[in-house]
C-alpha cells in the first residue's frame, strides 16, 4: 500500500526580511499581555503556512485563544482533550493517507501540528504523544513549555523547575523550597525510545528566526517530529511582561534551557554559551523563585551543571558548583 509522498519543502529563513508576511494566527485572542505561548504560536503558524491543521489540547492555547465561540486560526483547527492530542492527530493523519490514496482529497498531506502545553505533552498527554511518535505518523508534536498548568491558575507540571512556587507547590514552613521534584527531560524522553522519530529539537521565543527554521525542518521531515519550545509565562513566573524575551535568553545563558537539534542520532547545538551564567541571575528576576534560600539555589545549580554535562551536550567552561 503506497503512502502519499510529500513533496512540499518549506525553505529555511536566513534573514529576518525573509520571514513570511502572512499570518495564520490572527489577533483578538484573549491571552495575557506578553504571553510567551501566544508568540510561539504566531511564529509556528507563520512557519507552517496555509496547508496546515492545528490540534489544540485543552490549555492556555485553547481556552485563551478560542474563547466564546471565537477563533484566531485562519487554518483548520480542532480542540482535543488534554489527554489525547497525539491520538487525534494520528487519526487525522491516517484519514488523510487513505483519503488521498483513494482520490477523495487532492494535493498533499497537510502539515498536522499538535500544540500541547507541558501537561498535555509530558503528564496526562504523555501516552498519546509517545504512541504518535512510536507509530510513525507524519505529524509534528509541539510542546509549548510554560512550565506549569497555567490556564487553571498556575499549578505544577512535570516540567516545572525545582524550587518554583505554584499553587500546588507553595513554599511554607514545612516545605520551604516549594517544588521539591526535578523536571522530566521531555526531548530526551522522545529521543531515547522511539525508533520512528527522525528529528527532535528545542527552541525558544528568544530566537524567533531559529524557531521558524526548526518548525520548517520538522515539517519537511516525513515522519513524526517533536519540538520543545520554551515559552515564558509572565503571569505564572511573576515577571514584568515586557521582559519575556530577556528571560527566555537568560534561561539559555544559564543552562536552564538548552538549545539543540537531534537528527538521525546526531546532535547540533545553537546559542551554546561559552561560559554559563550562574542560575542565580535567572532566578532573581522571577517572583516564582523569590522564596529560595542559598541552599536551594545551590541545589538548582548542581542540577543544571549535571544536565548540561549530559551525553551529547558538552560544556566548554562549566560554572563551578558551590559546596
Amino acid at each position: 500500500m503506497t503512502v502519499a509522498v510529500r513533496t512540499q519543502t518549506l525553505p529555511p529563513i536566513k534573514l529576518i526580511r525573509n520571514v513570511p508576511k502572512e499570518e495564520y494566527y490572527v489577533p483578538g485572542h484573549r491571552t495575557c499581555a506578553g504571553c510567551g505561548p501566544a508568540l510561539q504560536y504566531k511564529l509556528v503558524a507563520k512557519a507552517a503556512g496555509p496547508n496546515t491543521i492545528f490540534l489544540g489540547p485543552t490549555g492556555c492555547m485553547y481556552v485563551a485563544n478560542a474563547s466564546y465561540l471565537c477563533t484566531p486560526y485562519a487554518v483548520p483547527w480542532m480542540h482535543t482533550q488534554i489527554t489525547n492530542g497525539g491520538a487525534v492527530a494520528s487519526g487525522i493523519e491516517a484519514a488523510y493517507r487513505v483519503l488521498l490514496r483513494k482520490g477523495k482529497r487532492e494535493g498533499e498531506l497537510p502539515n498536522i501540528i499538535v500544540m500541547a502545553g507541558d501537561g498535555g505533552t509530558a503528564d496526562i498527554g504523555l501516552q498519546a504523544m509517545s504512541a504518535m511518535m512510536y507509530r510513525g505518523h507524519d505529524a509534528l508534536f509541539i510542546c509549548y513549555d510554560n512550565e506549569a498548568y497555567a490556564n487553571t491558575g498556575i499549578q505544577t507540571s512535570p516540567t516545572t523547575p525545582y524550587g518554583a512556587n505554584t499553587t500546588f507547590t507553595p513554599p511554607g514552613s514545612a516545605i520551604p523550597e516549594g517544588k521539591t521534584l526535578f523536571p522530566k527531560d521531555v526531548p530526551q524522553l522522545v529521543i531515547g525510545g522511539h525508533p520512528a522519530v527522525k528529528y527532535v529539537a528545542t527552541a525558544s521565543i528568544a530566537y524567533p528566526v531559529d524557531l521558524i527554521n526548526k518548525v520548517r525542518k520538522a515539517l519537511n521531515v516525513q515522519g513524526p517530529t517533536f519540538l520543545h519550545i520554551h515559552s515564558p509565562c509572565p503571569k505564572g513566573w511573576k515577571f514584568d511582561e515586557a521582559k519575556t524575551v530577556e528571560i527566555a535568553r537568560l534561561a539559555i545563558e544559564t543552562g536552564m534551557w538548552n538549545m539543540y537539534e537531534w537528527e538521525n542520532g546526531e546532535y547540533r547545538y545553537q546559542f551554546k554559551p561559552k561560559k554559563y551564567k550562574p542560575v542565580r541571575e535567572y532566578v532573581k528576576l522571577q517572583g516564582r523563585f523569590a522564596h529560595l534560600s542559598e541552599a536551594h539555589i545551590a541545589k538548582l545549580q548542581a542540577f543544571v551543571d549535571a544536565k548540561v554535562r549530559a551525553p551529547g551536550i558538552p560544556v566548554a567552561t562549566p560554572v563551578p558548583t558551590p559546596q
Binding site: Y68, A87, G91, A128
Partner: protein, 397 residues
C-alpha cells in the same frame, strides 16, 4: 450474488465494516471484541480492505484516533468491551457534542471488579446519556445489519451522531450463526459515501470545538437533544430502505413475537432473546398466553412505540442484564425507561424487572419459565409482589 456464511458476531461485524468500506480503524485488544479487529487486520493486510489500521495505545486513544479521522473526513470504526468502554468515557461527550458520526462496536463484557469475561450490558448502558445512538443485536445477522443501519442513520445530516453497535459478549460475539452477505452494489445503494458537512480541510478552514460561555452551551445541548428527537424518523426511513434493498422484514424499534392475544410478555434485548423465543413457544404449547417484545434501539428510546406495544398486556417482565446500583429499581435501568414510557397511559400493565444473565451467566429456559410463572401470578393477584427479581437468587415464592 448474496451468499450465506456461518459467522460469529465478531466476524459478522468485520464483514459489515468491510462492506461499509470503513477507511480508518483503530484497534486495541480486550476480550471479547478483539476478534473483530483481528478479522479486520487480516483484511487490511491482504488488500481486501483499503483502510488505515492504527494500533491505538489504549481505548481512550482508540476513540481519540477515530475522532480525528472522522473529523478529517474518513469513515471510522473502533470498538471495545467492558472496562475498555469505560476507560474511554471522557471522549464520548466530545464526540457526540462535536457531532462526529463515527461507530464503535461493543461486544459486552461485565465490568471489573474483578476480571470477568462474561457479558453484561452495563458497559455500554453506562454511556447511554452521552448522546450516541445505541442498540443491541440478537444474532450475528443483526450485528451485520446494525452496523450498516447505524452508519446510515448516524451520518445522515439530520442526525450526525456517533453510534454504539452492541452485541453480547460470547453469546453473540463468539457463537456462529447464519449471516447472509449481500452484494457490494446493494450496500453501496443503501449507504452513501461518508460526507461530513465541515471536515478539517486546509482548503476550507474551520475551527472545531472552541471554548464557549454557559449560554452558548445550552444551545449545543438542545441541538443534540433535537438530533435525538429527529433520529427516529431517519431510522424508519433507513430500515424501510434496508428491507427493500436487501429483501428483509426488519421492524425499526420493536419486534413483537406471538403477542396477538398475549396477556403477559417479556420485554427483552440482546442475545437472550433467542432463548426467550423458545420459552415462549413452549409456554404457548402449554396454553400460556405469553408473547415477547424485543427492543432494537435503546437510544433513541422509542417511547410511543413501547407504550403502544406494551399497553396490550396485563403484565410485562422486563428482562435486564445491566446494573444501576442504588437506583429506584433496586438494580436495573431498563425498567425505568419502560415505566416512564407507560406513565401517561390511562391503563398500564403491571411491570416488574428480572435481573438475568448478570456476570455472563447463561439464562436458561427454566429461568424464563420461572419469570413467566411470576407474571402469571401477578395477573391473578392484580399486583406484582416485587419490583425486581434477581433470577436464580430469590427465595422460593
Amino acid at each position: 450474488m448474496a451468499r450465506e456464511m456461518m459467522l460469529s458476531g465478531c466476524a459478522a461485524a468485520a464483514q459489515a465494516a468491510k462492506m461499509a468500506q470503513v477507511e480508518v480503524i483503530c484497534s486495541y485488544p480486550i476480550r471479547p471484541y478483539t476478534a473483530i479487529m483481528m478479522e479486520l487486520a487480516k483484511m487490511v493486510a491482504n488488500g481486501e480492505l483499503d483502510a488505515e489500521f492504527v494500533h491505538g495505545e489504549g481505548e481512550h486513544a482508540q476513540l481519540s484516533v477515530v475522532l480525528g479521522a472522522a473529523a478529517a473526513g474518513a469513515r471510522a470504526l473502533t470498538g471495545s468491551s467492558g472496562v475498555g468502554v469505560t476507560y474511554a468515557f471522557e471522549t464520548y461527550s466530545p464526540i457526540a457534542g462535536g457531532r462526529i458520526p463515527l461507530q464503535m462496536m461493543i461486544a459486552d463484557r461485565a465490568l471489573d471488579p474483578p476480571g470477568d469475561f462474561g457479558s453484561e450490558h452495563t458497559d455500554a448502558m453506562s454511556c447511554r446519556d452521552q448522546g450516541w445512538l445505541m442498540g443491541w443485536a440478537e444474532s450475528p445477522q443483526e450485528v451485520f445489519d446494525n452496523c450498516l443501519i447505524n452508519y446510515r442513520v448516524g451520518e445522515d445530516h439530520r442526525v450526525l451522531l456517533p453510534q454504539f453497535v452492541c452485541q453480547d459478549g460470547y453469546f453473540v460475539s463468539h457463537i456462529p450463526g447464519k449471516v447472509v452477505l449481500p452484494e457490494q452494489s446493494q450496500v453501496d445503494e443503501f449507504l452513501p459515501p461518508y460526507a461530513l458537512p465541515h471536515p478539517l480541510d486546509p482548503k476550507r478552514p474551520v475551527s472545531h470545538g472552541p471554548q464557549i460561555r454557559p449560554d452558548q452551551g445550552t444551545i449545543m445541548d438542545l441541538q443534540r437533544a433535537q438530533a435525538m428527537l429527529d433520529a427516529p424518523a431517519v431510522i424508519r426511513e433507513a430500515i424501510d430502505d434496508y428491507n427493500r434493498i436487501f429483501g428483509r422484514n426488519i421492524s425499526p424499534f420493536l419486534e413483537e413475537y406471538m403477542t396477538e392475544d398475549a396477556e403477559i410478555a417479556f420485554f427483552i434485548m440482546g442475545a437472550h432473546t433467542m432463548t426467550a423465543r423458545h420459552a415462549v413457544n413452549h409456554l404457548r404449547s402449554q396454553g400460556v398466553k405469553i408473547g415477547l417484545v424485543k427492543l432494537r434501539f435503546v437510544r433513541p428510546w422509542p417511547t410511543e412505540d413501547v407504550a403502544a406495544a406494551l399497553s396490550k398486556f396485563k403484565a410485562v417482565g422486563v428482562v435486564e442484564t445491566s446494573t444501576s446500583y442504588g437506583s429506584a429499581m433496586h438494580g436495573g435501568n431498563l425498567l425505568h425507561e419502560v415505566r416512564a414510557s407507560l406513565y401517561e397511559l390511562p391503563q398500564r400493565p403491571l411491570t416488574t424487572s428480572f435481573m438475568a444473565g448478570l456476570g455472563g451467566e447463561m439464562v436458561g429456559l427454566k429461568d424464563f419459565y420461572y419469570m413467566a410463572d411470576i407474571l402469571s401470578k401477578a395477573v391473578k393477584e392484580g399486583k406484582t409482589r416485587k419490583t425486581v427479581y434477581w433470577v436464580g437468587f430469590e427465595a422460593e415464592d
